[in-house]
């Protein structure tokens, strides 16, 4: 059988690796924007080939798939889905594991996701508002901050996935720093408005959400549209530097295991999270009339108001979270994909190891994520025997294999190292021992986070989980989970959820 993959990151390298381990012995073909050295080798070793091309261009993808005569295509990243790659393939009768364009709206438009939750009364949601103009956003907040105190602590996001525009977290709890926070917030609204003006495909430009706090985790799932099967929880780490400091990145490393749950999440929270993701899949299928077959993931957080809560949705596997999940997956991945294609996921026995914990650490060139141009083009040297000796695995990310056999950095996350062990700290330590096996030969620096998987960081996560759990459990006991109620002097009781729903319904019809 012939399988083709799309995408050139560490997640796709891991997918290719897992495919190469299948008993079905598939021939492996790939399309990526970069010549990922890992994928290149796997394709070559498995009677296939890696071709570079635009992964968001349906014509390119369809032409290659037909040319190679593949039986199935697996889409790694989100952008191909946003551009309708799965739709184009299916029109040609080629099976595709990946969310179709309409379904991928749950990831592409963070505002539509929230609307979906509130319209369908789905749990695990956050208060939000969307705005077209910066002025509108600042006016709304100034006008309502006293009657809707949730507006003090907010997350500002581009309402639509947008290159280079990040998330800003604003906590405005300290009166003496209020002006500082307001100035920063309003400047960011302006900046979002101008950079989002280029996107004509959506009305909303700016999304403002209730800021929650608590430990985050990802629940990645396989779905055939009828059944949603959960995989082990994984926690990614978004900040560039130790102990969650520094700029936002695509993810600097992740942990999972040694079971389906993480050490700081309960089984009950897992089950609730799975229900929440199922709810989203069901609702988006109903709304679009399309069937979801591929991967879907909830980027979750335990919050005081809701318990398990969706921060964002993935219409694909996470990068690097995919590495953890695939490493733990015992079922043949081709069997999983075939079950999705044939819509018999409910009959599949999806198995994961319960003996190993997995730690993944991303290695990035200095300069990432703020100055990617500086981080780009540095030649890489890898001491593979060292990596193997320490029982680690290497997955190439934003790296490019040159014609002369040299690998150079692409400016983004270079690669991920993965290790497994009975618990997380020894797996983390194994990577620490190995990480010097990767160097840039021109002397440019590389960095990674030493704290991921360490006892210290786990203790911090555990502590945060315990605190927020006490709060949401209290609400559960009181019967106020998921409700937000304020009492405002001179106004009385205010329910911001009702205000939101009223605004979503629009002006009352006479």
């Amino acid at each position: 059988m012939r399988v083709m993959g799309v995408g050139g990151g560490a997640r796709e390298h891991a997918l290719a690796w897992k495919l190469s381990l299948s008993d079905h012995k598939p021939e492996i073909f790939w399309i990526a924007e970069n010549r990922n050295p890992g994928i290149y080798k796997i394709c070559k070793d498995n009677q296939g080939e890696l071709r570079t091309g635009r992964t968001t261009d349906p014509k390119t993808i369809v032409r290659s798939a037909r040319g190679w005569g593949v039986d199935m295509v697996v889409v790694g990243p989100e952008e191909p889905s946003f551009h309708g790659i799965p739709d184009a393939l299916e029109k040609e009768g080629i099976h595709c594991i990946g969310a179709s364009q309409e379904l991928s709206i749950i990831e592409r438009s963070k505002a539509d996701l929230r609307r979906l939750q509130w319209e369908n009364n789905l749990p695990g949601r956050l208060l939000f508002r969307t705005f077209k103009y910066a002025r509108e956003a600042s006016d709304f907040i100034r006008k309502n901050i006293d009657t809707q105190p949730w507006l003090q602590n907010i997350v500002i996001k581009p309402a639509r996935q947008s290159g280079g525009k990040g998330v800003k977290l604003i906590e405005d709890r300290l009166a003496y720093l209020h002006d500082d926070k307001e100035r920063f917030k309003e400047a960011y609204f302006d900046s979002l408005q101008s950079s989002m003006a280029a996107y004509s495909d959506i009305e909303d430009k700016i999304l403002v959400e209730e800021k929650a706090w608590g430990p985050e985790y990802s629940l990645q799932c396989f779905t055939d549209g009828k059944t949603v099967l959960g995989t082990p929880l994984v926690q990614d780490n978004k900040s560039a530097h130790e102990f969650d400091s520094g700029p936002e990145t695509g993810g600097m490393g992740s942990i999972s295991g040694p079971d389906m749950i993480l050490p700081f999440v309960t089984r009950e929270e897992y089950d609730k999270s799975l229900k929440i993701v199922e709810g989203i899949v069901e609702a988006i299928q109903k709304k679009t009339g399309r069937s979801y077959h591929g991967m879907v993931g909830g980027q979750m957080m335990l919050t005081e108001n809701e318990g398990p809560t969706i921060i964002e949705m993935y219409s694909r596997l996470g990068d690097p979270e995919a590495l953890n999940m695939l490493a733990m997956l015992k079922t043949d991945i081709i069997d999983v994909f075939q079950a999705i294609v044939e819509r018999r996921l409910s009959k599949l026995k999806l198995e994961f190891t319960n003996e190993d914990a997995v730690v993944v650490k991303v290695v990035a060139p200095n300069g990432y994520p703020e100055k990617k141009d500086k981080a780009k083009g540095h030649p890489v040297q890898v001491f593979e025997t060292n990596i193997k000796r320490n029982g680690c695995y290497l997955f190439w990310g934003n790296a490019d294999l040159q014609e002369n056999g040299e690998v150079v950095t692409g400016g983004s996350r270079l690669l991920a190292l993965m290790a497994m062990d009975h618990t997380l700290p020894p797996a983390s330590a194994r990577i620490e021992k190995t990480v010097s096996s990767i160097q840039l030969t021109d002397g440019w620096g590389l960095y990674h986070r030493t704290d991921i998987g360490s006892e210290q960081l786990l203790a911090k996560r555990h502590d945060s989980a315990e605190r927020v759990r006490r709060l949401y459990k209290y609400r559960e006991e009181q019967g106020t989970l998921g409700r937000r109620m304020e009492w405002v002097p001179k106004v009385g009781k205010v329910d911001p959820s009702q205000l939101l729903l009223k605004e979503m319904r629009g002006p009352e019809k006479a």
Binding site: G166, F184, S239, G246, P247, E370
Partner: protein, 433 residues
């Protein structure tokens, strides 16, 4: 002894942050570490370093200078217990501004020693390619006991703690935009920044517009200042990962176990000794009463420079609550005794207001040596415990008994191994490295 703050921002929109405003509140929280002079330095657009210094307390400084406070999006600041103690500004070969807590061994005089350190740092940053490595080498080479933050014209914020680790330094961050360092965690809290952990001994952490980098800390745990726990640090801070409040409670409990007294009530001398008195009361099973109300600002008597100011400080500070002490035998708990003047006034005040017996219990050993790392413990001839024994001191201050903790008891209360605590002011050995 200065309190240090470093404020750093990342990412898009960073020019919209007002570093001075954050530093203002951070320094306010560190006011207890010094109230004689304040200074700060910031970098705004165009990479120009702006500095400003002045006399007095933090609030005064910011109020007096108003719109004259330099604006920028990254910066450092210090509040110091030394008069005219300001940031060291080195213009060439590599422009930087330095704030240093403690003392390097480059010169007898603390200020000169900091200047020499700043010059060497500037030289190294200029000549060495790898600034992190260069700074790391420097703090391993230059002895003394110190922590520092420096801001360079290239928007680098360099913070570090020499391998001895006598002086505290903590890091924090919030969101994806802001990171900070400060002498104490309370300053991070007040700036609305989450504490992420200490700068380890021998560690250098460098913030640049692109990243945060650190060297490997020293393998040795260091030699932490025990006086931080006894008196210097704020109650709501953590020092070397230990909560100060917990340590002060332990000190009180340890004191009660080893130095009991027959009395009706336990009274602490505000502010530092209140949690110690609380621990004493809990362990001894005696009620704790609030025996004094403070008037005016919290003047830290031990660090006040002149005898006159000290007396004014003490009297403003402590007005006895008569009903709490009248006709009672009192255990009076204080954190430490420097010159003995506070104690003398306090005991006298209690007795004049109707207390019967007064048994003084001190939550630290006798202070007998000056601090080689810049804490203003006066010269030996001003330290009452270096001349008088407990009995003599009791007679001198008018107490019925007085007893100090031993060094072992203090170490036990703090809970860190002896080799990781600097107790040089309590004995004639200690930090000998």
């Amino acid at each position: 002894m200065p309190g240090l703050v470093g404020f750093y921002t990342f990412g898009e929109g960073r020019e919209n942050w007002d570093a001075s405003h954050f530093i203002h509140y951070g320094l306010s929280a560190l006011q207890g570490r010094g109230q004689e002079s304040v200074s700060l330095a910031v970098i705004g657009p165009g990479n120009a370093l702006h500095t400003l210094g002045g006399k007095g307390g933090v609030e005064d400084f910011f109020e007096k200078n108003g719109t004259g406070i330099p604006k920028g999006f990254i910066g450092i600041g210090q509040t110091s217990s030394y008069v005219d103690d300001h940031l060291v500004h080195v213009k060439a070969p590599y422009e930087l501004v330095l704030a240093l807590d403690g003392k390097t061994d480059l010169h007898e005089n603390r200020g000169e020693a900091s200047k020499l350190f700043a010059r060497q740092l500037s030289q190294l940053l200029h000549s060495e390619k790898e600034p992190l490595k260069a700074t790391s080498m420097l703090i391993n080479k230059i002895g003394g006991g110190y922590s520092f933050v420096a801001l360079t014209h290239k928007q680098e914020l360099i913070s570090g703690r020499n391998p001895l680790g006598v002086k505290p330094l903590e890091t924090g961050s919030v969101g994806f935009d802001i990171a900070a360092v400060a002498s104490e965690t309370c300053a991070l809290d007040v700036m609305g920044i989450d504490h992420t952990g200490p700068v380890e001994t021998g560690e250098v952490i460098m913030f640049t517009p692109e990243d945060i980098r650190g060297n490997a800390p020293a393998a040795d745990a260091g030699n932490f200042c025990s006086y931080e726990y006894v008196y210097l640090a704020r109650l709501d801070s953590k020092v070397n990962t230990l909560p100060v409040a917990t340590v002060r409670n332990n000190i009180g409990r340890e004191l009660a176990k080893a130095h009991p007294a027959k009395a009706d009530v336990v009274i602490g001398v505000p502010e530092t000794a209140l949690p110690v008195a609380n621990g004493y009361s809990q362990e001894a099973g005696l009620p704790q009463e609030l025996g004094f109300v403070r008037t005016g600002e919290n003047i830290r008597a031990a660090l006040e420079p002149t005898q006159k100011e000290r007396l004014v400080g003490v009297q403003l500070k402590l007005n006895p609550v008569k009903s709490a002490i009248e006709g009672k035998d009192v255990v009076l708990v204080d954190d430490s005794v420097v010159r003995g003047n506070t104690l003398h006034n306090t005991v006298l005040n209690l007795k004049r207001n109707g207390a019967h017996q007064v048994h003084v219990r001190i939550g630290s050993p006798t202070l007998i040596s000056p601090c080689p790392y810049g804490v203003e413990i006066p010269p030996r001839d001003e330290l009452v415990s270096s001349s008088l024994n407990e009995k003599e001191l009791a007679n001198n201050v008018g107490a019925d008994s007085i007893s100090f903790m031993t060094v072992d008891e203090l170490q036990h209360a703090i809970g860190l191994p002896r080799q990781n605590l600097c107790m040089r002011c309590f004995e004639n050995e200690g930090a000998t490295r």
